[in-house]
């Protein structure tokens, strides 16, 4: 009997010590984790926006203002609406408003959320703010985020984080578009494709093929199973001199996407995913812009 008590006490003490060690480390790292995640994301975004050496930089990324617009799907019994969280100028500061737009593109409602951009980064905080504004009857579900990069008052780029099904699991990617919806770049953030095969989608020679494609071209972009020409590969990997860059770039301006050897499905998954992502975004941003200008909303985007 005495032994049991001894064992119980020993186990309890060790569990308590272990628990406090883990809890302490968790508290210490939680903040750093969030910060690093945000920093990482920002680095990817700036990396996509930074023009490459031969092209002259029109702006330095440090001067850019990035605004996130969050999209929600709002269900009210049988009716479905889209809710856009848009940063709006309020007196001296910028805070988020929720614009509720019906499926035909008409503004039906507008709520003040009183959420500052930093606070809005947390999905949980956004959720509670929206739930408070909508009341209990409507249910909101987070859909996606789009990021608008502005230089002074001019839009210079859009950044679209998104995910689409790949060969194995989901591929997380971020696309950058310029103000006319031409592709500035594509970055693969996370994937679980096979290393050496589908995993090559994160390599420069694949993802740079999308760079510079116009919106018109993107809509008809196909994946072809032809081997990548050597000069084009050199160009994509940025291994050639800057004088040759422009010429080869022009030559392959309207080329289709060359599939990765042994990973045609992964290649077309990325291509189709990007196509759908951009198409949906262009459709939505046009509606959102029209609503904002018609209703005279003081948005900063």
């Amino acid at each position: 009997m005495k032994e049991i008590i001894k064992i119980t006490v020993a186990l309890t003490i060790s569990c308590l010590v272990a628990g406090s060690v883990m809890g302490g480390v968790f508290i210490l790292t939680a903040k750093a984790k969030k910060q690093n995640e945000h920093l990482n994301m920002q680095q990817t975004m700036f990396g996509l926006l930074e023009p490459e050496p031969p092209q002259k930089s029109e702006f330095s990324t440090a001067d850019l203002n990035l605004y996130n617009v969050y999209r929600y799907i709002i269900e009210d019994n049988d009716k479905t609406y889209l809710g856009y969280m848009v940063p709006v100028k309020q007196d001296t500061r910028t805070a988020y408003d929720l614009l509720i737009i019906d499926l035909k593109g008409k503004l039906t409602d507008q709520h003040k959320l009183d959420l500052l951009p930093e606070a809005a980064r947390e999905e949980q905080d956004r959720g509670t703010a929206i739930a408070n504004a909508l009341g209990s009857q409507k249910r909101a579900k987070y859909a996606d985020t789009m990021i608008i990069a502005k230089l002074n008052d001019k839009r210079v780029a859009y950044l679209l984080p998104g995910e689409f099904p790949g060969f194995k699991t989901f591929i997380h990617a971020m696309a950058a578009l310029d103000a006319d919806f031409n592709i500035l770049g594509l970055e693969i953030m996370a994937h679980e494709e096979d290393p050496g095969l589908g995993g090559e989608i994160e390599k420069k020679y694949f993802k740079n093929q999308f760079k510079g494609k116009t919106f018109e071209k993107l809509r008809q972009l196909k994946v072809i199973k032809e081997p990548l020409p050597e000069e084009y590969r050199q160009y994509l990997e940025r291994k050639i001199s800057q004088e040759d860059m422009a010429g080869i770039g022009k030559k392959y301006q309207d080329a289709d996407i060359h599939a990765i050897t042994g990973a045609t499905i992964s290649s077309s998954c990325v291509t189709n995913g990007l196509k759908r992502m951009v198409k949906k975004f262009v459709y939505r941003i046009k509606i959102l812009d029209r609503v904002i200008s018609e209703k005279d909303i003081h948005s900063v985007i």
């Binding site: 883990m22 799907i73 049988d78 889209l82 737009i101 499926l103 099904p165 060969f167 194995k168 096979d194």
Partner: protein, 329 residues
Amino acid sequence: MIKMFDHKTHTSALLNHYLRIVTFFICLLLFCGCRTEHRFVKKAVFKDTHEIMITFAGPVDEAWAANMGNFSVYEKPDPDILSDIRSVVLSPDKMTLTLHTEEPISQDVSHKVVLKEIIADGVSQGTAYLTVNKLYIGYLFSILMGAMIIQNFVFSKYLGLCVFFGTSRKKSTAVGMGVTFTIVIVAASLMSWFFYQFVLKPFRLDYLQIVVFIGLVSLTVQGVDTILRKVNPALFSAFGVYLVLVIANCIVIAVPLILADNEYNVWESLMLALGAGLGFLIALFLMSSVRERLEFADIPESYRGLPIAFIVAGLFALAFMGFSGMSLF
């Protein structure tokens, strides 16, 4: 000899019992899968890459079906972007309707179909908002097959190798280990799932998952050990030795971690755990069949034992790569 026979009947009775439970749940799921949200619509399913088929309870009006404006299809996350419908075909008995879309439908996303003011026999039946999903039972089955074969934990995810190489020398050992492992992993995963969903997540303690999961696994092993010893000593003498080894197998801790990462529900968790266990059994069986023959093969001295086993496993892994990316349903 008699004792051996005894084992077999016990094992088969046990398996029979499990089979009955699984069949019951499958029937239950099938029953749930066919329900739709509208009383006049019997079912709505994906048919082909471009088609959605809707079956009604009675014949519908031809004029209503001919009006394309009555139909709209969209993906659930994108309610504002309608899919273009190329044509609507009504079957001769007017009971089934097939919507052809312009672009291929990705069946992984659930779709919504809106049928405006259904008219049947000249009477309006109201508007139907239907959700079209991949058949849920098919989805569950694809998780099971995925964990078992396509993403086999041993040959495609490279987990549990220590125990895998340790117990694949003889077929009888391999099967014993595989069966014990399957039982333990199903029990441990379900327990971890409940614990994660109802204790760790609500209290934001998910950083404790490693400790909690390994504790639950040890607990399950201990529990199975005690129960088996009391209830069925014959079975225990056959499988008891493997119980200790289960805990050294990283699959048994990997599955709860994967479940926690992917937010599966209880059925999906059950299927993944079952698939992982059966997949391990399959891998052990295949490997032991080869290794029994390797005993008689003339192998270079330095390759004898583990090195050749690794190369055989490599060949299996290459073969299993052929399954990758395969999708069922």
